[in-house]
């Protein structure tokens, strides 16, 4: 078997995260399986090539942080900031994710099969995020670019101070954040939503979603709007 395609197994019960990440930054294989993460932080952080990593279990903070090209699947739940500042690649969480999932991420695809806690997609800068369940309050805060799809509900403060990101929500939405408004779903939006759902491997009727984005009223400061800040 080609050693480059044979998955290397790293057991975090016996090896430190530091050794795992050092290996992933200079990979000797194209595929890895990580066992016993036991909530460790920064698992598979800083990947900068197209390797695949399957993590069997729950991870702590910043799993797959700054991922740039890797295909990382977390077979479990993820702590704060999963795939934070991702540049490219794919990160999938089969369970739930804690707060700040996909924070500031510039690109790639983050899929959370379960639900994500508050601040999902905070300051997102181009990433696509698809959440099979719901997202918590203040999700999409200051979201600059990219798309976020929520297949169930979104908490209060959705899209507060949002810039140019597009948010799609299928279920109930709490109070919208400052300068976030519902916008009409046109054909191009239904088309990109269908693409995102397909990329995430999720099936939903795109007509059940509503779109939210920036009213662009806060792009320039006016003291009369002080109550909105």
């Amino acid at each position: 078997m080609d050693p480059l395609t044979e998955a290397i197994t790293v057991d975090l019960a016996t090896q430190p995260v530091r050794a795992l990440n050092a290996e992933l930054h200079s990979p000797s294989s194209k595929a890895y399986e990580v066992l016993a993460p036991a909530g460790a932080h920064a698992v598979a952080a800083g990947i900068d090539s197209g390797i695949s990593v399957d993590v069997r279990g729950h991870v702590g903070y910043y799993a797959a942080g700054m991922n740039d090209g890797g295909v990382v699947t977390i077979h479990g739940n993820a702590g704060t900031g999963v795939a934070e500042n991702m540049m490219s690649g794919t990160v999938r969480v089969t369970g739930d994710a804690s707060q700040s999932a996909g924070a500031t991420a510039h690109g790639g695809l983050l899929v959370i099969d379960g639900s994500a806690s508050m601040r999902c997609g905070i300051s997102m800068k181009g990433v696509d995020i698809v959440v099979g369940g719901s997202v918590g309050p203040m999700s999409g805060f200051m979201a600059q670019a990219g798309r976020m799809v929520v297949c169930c509900d979104a908490g209060d403060g959705l899209g507060d101070s949002i810039y140019e990101a597009r948010l799609y929500v299928r279920g109930a939405v709490g109070a919208l954040g400052a300068d976030c408004v519902e916008k009409p779903m046109r054909d191009e939006h239904r088309a990109e939503l269908a693409e995102l759902l397909a990329a995430a491997g999720l099936e939903h009727d795109v007509t059940e979603f509503r779109r939210y984005g920036s009213a662009r009223r806060l792009y320039h400061f006016h003291s009369e709007q002080a109550g909105s800040y």
């Binding site: 990440n21 952080a45 910043y62 700054m66 740039d68 540049m87 510039h106 800068k125 003291s223």
Partner: protein, 456 residues
Amino acid sequence: MTPSPAERGLRESATFDRATIAGIRHAAATGVYDIRGWGAKRAVPHFDDLLFLGASMSRYPLEGYRERCDTDVVLGSRNAKYPLHLDTPVTIAGMSFGALSGQAKEALGRGASEVGTSTTTGDGGMTAEERGQSKTLVYQYLPSRYGMNPTDLRKADAIEVVLGQGAKPGGGGMLLGQKISDRVAGMRTLPAGIDQRSACRHPDWTGPDDLAIKILELREITDWEKPVYVKVGATRTYYDVKLAVAAGADVVVVDGMQGGTAATQDVFIEHVGIPTLAAIPQAVQALQELGLHRHGVQLIASGGIRTGADVAKAMALGADAVAIGTAALIALGDNSPEYAAEYEALGSAAGFYDDFQDGRDPAGITTQDPELAARLDPVRAGKQLANYLRVLTMEAQTIARACGKSHVRHLEPEDLVALTIEAAAMARVPLAGTEWIPGNTKRSGAGPSTGRNTHA
């Protein structure tokens, strides 16, 4: 010639002085608060309020130009595989591309590199010009994460996690629409021309325990190669430094209220934070109690450093290095009399200009206007900065030798006295001619009981 108001016997109010009256009139006319650059302009206790004692009978000085007085400093040796080794303890503070022109950033890199010190990115990412011209570049990790990417992170020589700055502790960055050019907008993933207000809190951590995990992640991404700084605006400095160290900082940067900004509300600049003079002793105390002062975690002080005397005083109080921002811009040519007429046309004057936020800087430094920016020759400006940095270093050496020190780092609080009660209390050195440190009730064992901090 018309007599001045003072010559006519008119009395100006100390409470409602001309600047205050102008501020009220501006607020009334526009309905917006004043946003400006620079740092605090009010007078606060500062390094000018301290003096060195120098050597005499009881201290032995070093010969001015013959005996060696070193100035090098190692930063980030606590955890990093590759700590920084700088030739001078005077570093360049973080200033963003966006706030500054590309030419200005390049000039900062050139000047710093020529004298063997570091420069620092800002809230807007790393530019190729800056990286290319900076031998040692510190990459700031800010709440906005504008332009943050792992490729540049790995290109950096150190990482500075920014919690705040002295001009606006508790506030985020600000860049008004007139400076959001297409290039700046592209680097920050923002629409061109909008008023950009950065977040004041990091998006994926909320306290010192989280910060420890964040720093761990940054080390993991960069394979534990790079020093990690934590920068705070000077406020509750004693506690902030202890928490920063607990979170894993290799270097703590403390920026006093005189530290500059490219754009912040005037009310914020002048009324939030504490002077650099008050912050350094708090930071030193925190590091001493942790057993890490001068032996593990380095302290960089900034905010109002102008002369080699300021450098020496900051180091005598316990800083390992200092950072300069406003002074560096002046060295590049900011507020130059060469552009006096243009400053006047903007409603300001050379030496007073602080409208860094509006992008019309005649000196081509705090602007994104291509024509204005082209006025700044990065080679010439970089040379000026290098000259200035050399002067600061030599001035600090001069004082250190006079105090009998073979390294500027050997300066200590015992070398200092204060001219005012306020400065004595803040800096924790005695009022000149006395043994009195206001507020300090501790007594040491042997010799005169000054109760002052020492660097033993």
